[in-house]
């Protein structure tokens, strides 16, 4: 048996994305008046200063594989940049991650920013990464938490319904 790991998953996801964008979607839209519904639109980013993103990338892969439209904003993204992009893309869910405890205050910044600007109710907010715990997520009033890409897959159906706790 030949195992499949991240490089193969990334390549496969790229191929699927291209086929979907260049072949399937145009064909269906040609013959139908409505667009294909996705499971939801998700914006992912690591918090300001956090350079590590393998976990985020894997969560993105899992969500794409399950029909979510994922926008990856990359690493070390400031709270305002996250919100601007979320508004622009009209996402349903914002996910941010942090590996180290000293990055976690930036996660709080981002949620505080949402609260201050009245945007909190628009988005489901999920956090993840080794530094986060369910208690921290509850204290932040996040809608959910996950510590691995496998958990993203397990909980995908609850994401847009904010039923992660």
């Amino acid at each position: 048996m030949h195992d499949i790991f991240l490089p193969e998953m990334v390549t496969a996801a790229d191929v699927v994305q291209r086929i979907t964008n260049e072949v399937i979607t145009p064909k269906i839209e040609e013959t139908h008046s409505t667009k294909i519904a996705s499971a939801g639109k998700v914006l992912l980013a690591t918090v300001r200063g956090d350079l590590r993103e393998i976990g985020k990338n894997m969560v993105g892969l899992m969500l794409r594989a399950n029909g979510f439209n994922v926008i990856d904003q990359g690493i070390t993204v400031s709270p305002s940049e996250i919100i601007i992009q979320a508004e622009k893309e009209k996402v349903d869910i914002i996910g941010s991650s942090s590996l180290l405890p000293t990055r976690v205050p930036y996660m709080k910044d981002f949620i505080d920013y949402l609260n201050t600007n009245g945007g909190r109710g628009k988005y489901a907010v999920i956090i993840g990464g080794a530094a986060t715990t369910p208690e921290f997520a509850l204290n932040l009033f996040a809608d959910g938490i996950g510590n691995s890409a496998a958990e993203a897959d397990e909980r995908k159906n609850k994401l847009t319904r904010r039923q992660l706790f």
């Binding site: 991240l6 490089p7 990334v10 393998i54 894997m58």
Partner: protein, 462 residues
């Protein structure tokens, strides 16, 4: 300069970060790492099957892995995230960097000095115990007491710390002045611990709170951590660096400090599975030496789902990597022991012990023990798992890999089916008498039972 550092080589690494070829990071991940790794694994026939022995005893295989790792290192190099550039070294440059590593260093000061020496597989020589609550979150109020319980153990020769949760009751924000404040506070509290236990010169792994160069610079300064301590720099997975790591490398060279380079290749990541992780252990160690000029070399491969270095596939890969390096370089290498289980469980002894024992006979120079329950729970570590590892490691020094294989096999069987069960155990404060800093009877009995079991089953004088 310590560590066999060559300043010109360090400057050369900085040049590469500024002038190497521009590259998209996704292309790096997929092609430079992923595709190259697959190609090299096939070329050198590095195939760690699931039924391969957990501890390799085939020296030819280990040597072949080294050759594969050297080629991987010369073809992949390092990616600098801040500049978006590909840092590359020729094989000759890499071998030159490896040849300049001293095969023995003495850390610490006075009566607390400890010598770390190069070892080969099956060698009958001392393995240094680098012990402590590695990165375990701990509050300010209990920092000193918590660490005192570890630092007073004679078996622990180099001391590592937990991570402050707050500093002067404030959140510690990476890259901010609070990181600097926390670094200084950590150092002051740590030196208080060392004074209390009568080991002022014991070498300390530092700066534990440092997430960026802010913490390193603030902690390793006048009146702060000493050149004889162990200063840490790491790669970001896989084989990536950033300005704040390079700044730390420069600072350690300038203050003439010993440094430990460490990295955590990911099982299931861009290097792939077990075979890829073994390759990463070698390749990463080689380029890390060239990039940071460190001497101590710590490898903590992590399973992508359970965040542990003790998964059987990871353990198998790490042993082979350690052997390849021990047989072909003078690097002073250690496994980083990160179990899924926590203190207060029987399984933690076996989950940490398997990796410790396997590494000792594979030629590691020291053992990092342990980041209990993957390091995420406040106070979630205790000295007993470190002491168990120390006793086990010293008992197997001088045994062969084939001798130790049944021990490792049995220990892995004790925990392989529970690694996803999140048996985090209990925090230190529930397991220890805080007046005497002795374990409570129930926890101590678990420790004694584990020792007795290993003695009875394997006739080990542990």
């Amino acid at each position: 300069m310590k560590n066999g550092q060559n300043y010109d080589l360090l400057l050369s690494a900085l040049d590469k970060a500024e002038n190497g070829m521009l590259m998209d990071e996704k292309v790096w991940d997929r092609d430079v790492i992923g595709k190259t790794a697959r190609e090299i694994l096939e070329k050198y026939d590095i195939d760690l099957k699931i039924d391969s022995p957990l501890v390799n005893a085939d020296n030819g295989f280990a040597d072949r892995l080294f050759d594969a790792g050297l080629e991987m290192a010369s073809r992949s190099g390092v990616y600098c995230k801040d500049t978006g550039r590909w840092m590359q070294w020729t094989k000759e440059e890499l071998l030159s960097a490896l040849n300049q590593v001293p095969d023995e260093i003495t850390l610490g000061a006075g009566n607390d000095q400890v010598t770390v020496s190069h070892r080969k597989p099956d060698e009958n020589s001392h393995v240094v115990i680098y012990g402590g609550p590695f990165g375990i979150p701990i509050d300010e109020a209990r920092f000193v007491l918590f660490h005192q319980a570890f630092a007073c153990q004679p078996s622990i020769e180099i001391f590592n710390l937990g991570t402050l949760l707050t500093t002067h009751s404030r959140s510690i924000r990476a890259g901010s002045p609070w990181e600097a404040v926390a670094a200084k506070q950590e150092q002051e509290l740590t030196f208080e611990v060392l004074q209390r236990v009568g080991r002022p010169g014991m070498p300390v792994g530092c700066v534990e709170i440092a997430t960026t160069e802010v913490g390193e610079l603030a902690g390793t300064t006048y009146g702060g951590y000493r050149p004889t301590d162990v200063h840490k720099i790491n790669f970001i997975s896989e084989q990536k660096t950033a300005y704040h790591h390079l700044i730390a490398a420069v600072h350690f060279a300038h203050v003439d400090a010993f440094s430990e380079s460490y990295f955590n290749p990911m099982y299931g990541g861009y290097f792939g599975g077990g075979s890829g992780v073994a390759l990463a252990c070698v390749s990463g160690s080689i380029v890390m030496r060239a990039c940071y000029q460190g001497t101590l070399n710590d490898i903590g491969p992590t399973h992508i789902h359970i965040s542990a270095s003790t998964h059987p596939e990871v353990l198998r890969a790490l042993q082979l990597g350690i052997q390849a390096l021990a047989r072909n370089t003078k690097l002073l290498t250690s496994p980083f022991i990160r179990p899924t289980t926590g203190p207060g469980t029987r399984e933690i002894f076996y989950e940490t012990g398997a990796l410790a024992a396997a590494s000792a006979v594979s030629g590691c120079s020291y053992v990092d023990s342990a980041q209990s329950a993957a390091g995420t729970h406040t106070g979630g570590a205790s000295p007993l798992e470190v002491l168990f590892n120390a006793r086990l490691v010293h008992a197997v020094e001088g045994m062969t890999r084939n001798d130790v294989l049944p021990i490792v096999d049995w220990m892995v069987d004790q925990y392989r089916d529970i690694q996803t069960a999140k048996m985090i155990g209990k925090p230190f404060f529930d397991l220890y008498n805080l007046s005497t800093l002795e374990p409570i009877p129930a926890w101590n009995q678990m420790y004694l039972d584990a020792i007795e079991e290993v003695q009875r089953r394997f006739g080990l004088s542990i």
